[in-house]
């Protein structure tokens, strides 16, 4: 008798990961730490060069333009900040969500999602540079209602807290693997793993600390991420668009970020499977589950944007019509179309088919389109908000022309994103992939069992 899974998914084979031995998992996990391959080195060099180009473009752009005070000159810095927050910043949230739901398919994926957090320092630095371009809160729309040192101090504090929490989360979640690396790689010569593992020996008490640390830091990270994205959406977009008090926009901005975070994780899964030797860990089960979540968030993206649009359309006050024009229908119409197609239509039409979700190529293509869509959408939003000459009006009186990026804008957008990626690659030299302790725990919590005419897997649920 065919199983329900076969009827629903046409798939019967159990993932090879769970046939591995703990020793094999240790060997695979320490592989990159011991010796990096040529493709890794090439990727690291290219992304580091891009990072340097990005920094140079960041410095030169205001010098050759209208100066450091010209808000429009910072458009692409803001877009880069938004893009990195929506990718590098949100991927760890995906890891936390997977841990909360306690699915076992997540074990080979968690570390990939957490690793992206290694690039958080880049958006933090960008925010520190960007925030002082904004005027103080007097006389304009703001969330801070006259608080002392707002928005500068509080925005930086939030972003700093998020950055520290992100690095802390990555560190605590990979601490047991650092201890394994200490014992396997640095046996006689204490080095960085000995310092970073901090005496972790796997006692019951230490494991309890790891469990709780991962849970609390993860929950704190999500709270900080949602809060930071809410504030940044308000600060960098809503506050600069006269008359825009769209309460759904911060939620839409955050959800778009979460969707992109899953997308970059899926892309990382595909890359590691193809070039990183992780084919035994990343199979259709991981792509199927991650792509379902990405599809759900794509639908949510559409829903939030639709509710904003429909309220403004029904209201049709001059204020709302101006906002519809500046954000959707006039200078940035084609950018909106591309973002709409990539962040909603593409995931919908590609991932709605179960057979495609069960494959590797389908989710990867959809994820790439989501990332492209996110990059374009950030340009749309920041170009619109940073181009407004008078942000003290009660409503937008003139729709500014579209901001056309120069060479240095493109270089800094691509370059700084590449620089963040370089940091993620560097993190692979200290953080093992796959996550040895989590995969090994998964091995212990699985057993095969004959069930009538088929074979099924028993998954332990200790909680």
């Amino acid at each position: 008798m065919a199983t329900h899974a076969e009827h629903a998914h046409g798939h019967r084979r159990v993932q090879r990961t769970w046939d591995l031995t703990p020793q094999q998992v240790v060997t695979d996990g320490l592989q990159r730490i011991r010796a990096a391959g040529s493709s890794y080195r090439l990727a690291l060099i290219i992304s580091a060069i891009l990072g340097v180009i990005g920094v140079i473009a960041l410095i030169i752009r205001p010098i050759i333009g209208a100066g450091w005070g010209d808000r429009q000159a910072w458009t692409y810095v803001a877009a880069t900040f938004g893009f990195l927050m929506s990718t590098v910043g949100s991927a760890p949230c995906f890891s936390v969500a997977m841990r909360l739901t306690r699915g076992h398919w997540r074990r080979p994926v968690n570390r990939l999602a957490e690793l992206w957090g290694a690039g958080l320092i880049v958006p933090f630095i960008l925010l520190v540079l960007l925030i002082f371009v904004l005027p103080n809160t007097e006389g304009r729309q703001t969330l801070w209602f006259g608080w002392w040192a707002a928005p500068y101090l509080w925005d930086i504090v939030m972003m700093l807290a998020l950055t520290i929490c992100g690095y802390g989360f990555l560190y605590v979640a990979s601490l047991p693997d650092m201890a394994i690396a200490r014992d396997q790689v640095e046996r006689d010569r204490p080095g960085r793993f000995t310092r970073m593992a901090r005496g972790f020996r796997g006692t019951v008490y230490q494991w309890q600390i790891i469990d709780r640390g991962v849970a609390y830091l993860g929950a704190l990270y999500i709270l900080l991420y949602v809060g930071t994205m809410t504030v940044m959406a308000s600060e960098l977009i809503l506050a600069l668009l006269p008359g825009d008090n769209s309460a759904i926009f911060p939620a839409a901005y955050t959800v778009a970020g979460l969707e992109s975070g899953i997308a970059v994780t899926i892309i990382a899964m595909a890359v590691f499977r193809r070039w990183g030797g992780a084919g035994e860990y990343l199979e259709s089960e991981q792509f199927f589950a991650a792509s379902k979540l990405m599809l759900a968030l794509g639908l949510l993206w559409f829903y939030f944007h639709w509710t904003e649009f429909v309220i403004w359309w029904y209201g049709r006050t001059p204020r709302e019509l101006s906002l519809l024009k500046v954000l959707y229908f006039e200078p940035y119409f084609w950018l909106f179309v591309i973002a709409f197609a990539c962040m909603f239509l593409a995931p919908l039409f590609v991932l709605v088919w179960t057979r495609i979700r069960m494959g590797i190529a389908g989710p990867t293509v959809a994820a790439c389109l989501v990332v492209v869509g996110q990059a374009v959408d950030q340009v749309r939003l920041m170009s619109a908000s940073f181009s407004i000459p008078n942000i003290y009006e009660k409503e937008l009186s003139i729709i500014p022309n579209a901001y056309i990026p120069g060479v240095f804008d493109i270089l800094l957008y691509v370059g700084l994103a590449g620089g963040a990626f370089a940091l993620v690659l560097l993190a692979l030299k200290v953080v093992a992939y796959p996550s040895i302790w989590e995969i090994t725990a998964g091995l212990w919590l699985r057993a095969r069992k004959q069930y009538y005419k088929t074979e099924v897997t028993l998954i332990g649920k200790p909680n």
């Binding site: 008359g243 008090n245 939620a251 509710t307 309220i311 897997t457 028993l458 332990g460 649920k461 200790p462």
Partner: protein, 457 residues
């Protein structure tokens, strides 16, 4: 920690069919009490139909008051069914099994109860029969189909139809079990409802696939229904109503109140029907964790609505926000919203020890619904009572005893319907529990035996 006891199949069937065959003393007491309140509800509605809507506190500009608040509240409660049943079914969460039927049936009865309020609000509900049939296009009256007030009945009826189908499909195997164990008129009833189900492989396949498909379809309906209900308010230009966040805000609030209502129902079922072996602390633990996430998301949307109402510093918005925050009775309702809706229950639910305590979960779930009812009132009424430009047009809304009776009676209506349902059909799916028993197992990890479940891949 494993709490499931491996029970013989006969015992599971006997335990879960006990409410159908046996009426306990507490059941009779509940019937009598609820019946009394229901009588008062019918009397209050009849009084209002006879004397007119003027016996309520509704008056210009407060044309909407308790009745629309209650409509929104019961539509919100109805979202629990889809949340728990459809989403958890699609994600194959094992802990959903004893909870789904009660959630789905509560959805059905909440929707029916919600729909009575717009009818009663017309003052002469019989007239809806001859302005709805035939619909106004044929008589030269052109209702604006772009209006949320016209889309609303379509959405709610679609949701009700979908829910009834969903409940029916998921109950077919249980109708078959009841058919095979009953005589007399019940046997005839169950035989018709069972549609010839005999447990054959193809029938199970069809039943499972239908359940999945309906669950997926219901998800989109569930989002659209409460979004359209929110747009009854947000499409207008009334200050503080005309907000872009109201659709998802209403939906997440509905899930928060609905899932809390399911917790209340689970605790009552466990107590009334002695379902201790089926509604275990692990189920309350799982639903409590879900509620932490849902409650926090609701609080986020609530804060977004409040902050962005103040964002533009519009004078009209500021006046109404001032009323909402500082004027009586809204300041009390705001306290209820914060304290009962979030700041007592959610911190309690963070602790496993309290999530697994049935009494704590029962009382916190009731608190949430007190907070959520207050929230609906707090959202709707202040915007109405100060909607006109001139302050001499502003009045306060004072609900009368008729409205209070109608509100309390609506709870009795839902309770009575649920009790009647439990006398005809098992409130926990028997086939689902039997399946869960088969899928439960154990594995040895070192010296510990860990509970496990079967997965097909």
């Amino acid at each position: 920690m494993q709490e499931r006891h491996h029970l013989p199949e006969d015992q599971i069937i006997r335990d879960l069919l006990r409410p159908v065959v046996y009426t306990s003393t507490m059941n009779w007491v509940a019937f009598i009490v609820l019946g009394g309140v229901l009588t008062a509800f019918v009397f209050a509605a009849g009084w209002m139909f006879y004397w007119g809507v003027g016996v309520t506190g509704l008056n210009r500009p407060n044309m909407w008051g308790f009745m629309i608040v209650n409509f929104v509240f019961w539509i919100g409660i109805s979202h629990a069914g889809v949340m728990i049943s459809a989403i958890l079914r699609l994600t194959q969460a094992e802990w959903r099994r004893p909870v789904t039927r009660a959630a789905e049936v509560m959805t059905m009865f909440s929707l029916m109860t919600a729909m009575t309020f717009p009818f009663m609000h017309t003052g002469r509900p019989w007239r809806t029969a001859y302005f709805v049939f035939p619909y106004d296009f044929w008589r030269g009256i052109w209702p604006d189909v772009r209006s949320a007030l016209v889309m609303d009945p379509s959405a709610v009826f679609t949701y009700l139809t979908g829910t009834i189908l969903f409940v029916f499909v998921t109950m077919i195997p249980d109708f078959a079990i009841l058919r095979d164990r009953s005589t007399g008129w019940r046997h005839g009833l169950y035989r018709v409802l069972a549609l010839g189900f005999r447990g054959q492989e193809r029938q199970w396949k069809m039943q499972t696939i239908s359940g999945f498909l309906l669950a997926a379809i219901m998800l989109s309906i569930f989002v659209s229904v409460h979004s359209i209900v929110s747009w009854d308010f947000a499409f207008s230009l009334d200050p503080v109503w005309h907000s872009t966040v109201w659709a998802p805000y209403f939906v997440i609030g509905a899930v928060h109140s609905g899932v809390s209502a399911v917790v209340t129902l689970m605790a009552l079922m466990r107590w009334l029907f002695k379902f201790d072996s089926y509604l275990r602390p692990e189920h309350f633990d799982a639903i409590g964790r879900l509620l932490v996430v849902v409650g926090s998301a609701w609080m986020w949307f609530f804060m977004l609505d409040v902050f962005f109402d103040l964002f533009r510093q519009d004078p009209v918005d500021l006046v109404i926000m001032n009323t909402r925050f500082f004027a009586w009775p809204y300041v009390l309702l705001l306290a209820f919203i914060f304290i009962f809706g979030y700041f007592i229950p959610v911190p309690i639910w963070l602790f496993r020890r309290f999530r697994r305590n049935i009494k704590v979960m029962f009382w916190t779930s009731i608190m949430v619904n007190v907070g959520m009812w207050s929230e609906r009132y707090w959202l709707v009424v202040p915007g109405l009572q100060q909607k006109y430009q001139w302050s001499f047009d502003w009045t306060s809304y004072r609900p009368g005893p008729i409205e209070v009776t109608l509100i309390i009676g609506s709870f009795a209506l839902v309770g009575t319907l649920l009790l009647v349902f439990s006398k005809l059909f098992p409130p926990i799916p028997v086939w689902d529990e039997l399946e869960g028993q088969r899928f439960a197992g154990e594995i040895q990890v070192g010296k510990r035996t860990v509970p496990a479940i079967v997965r097909e891949f």
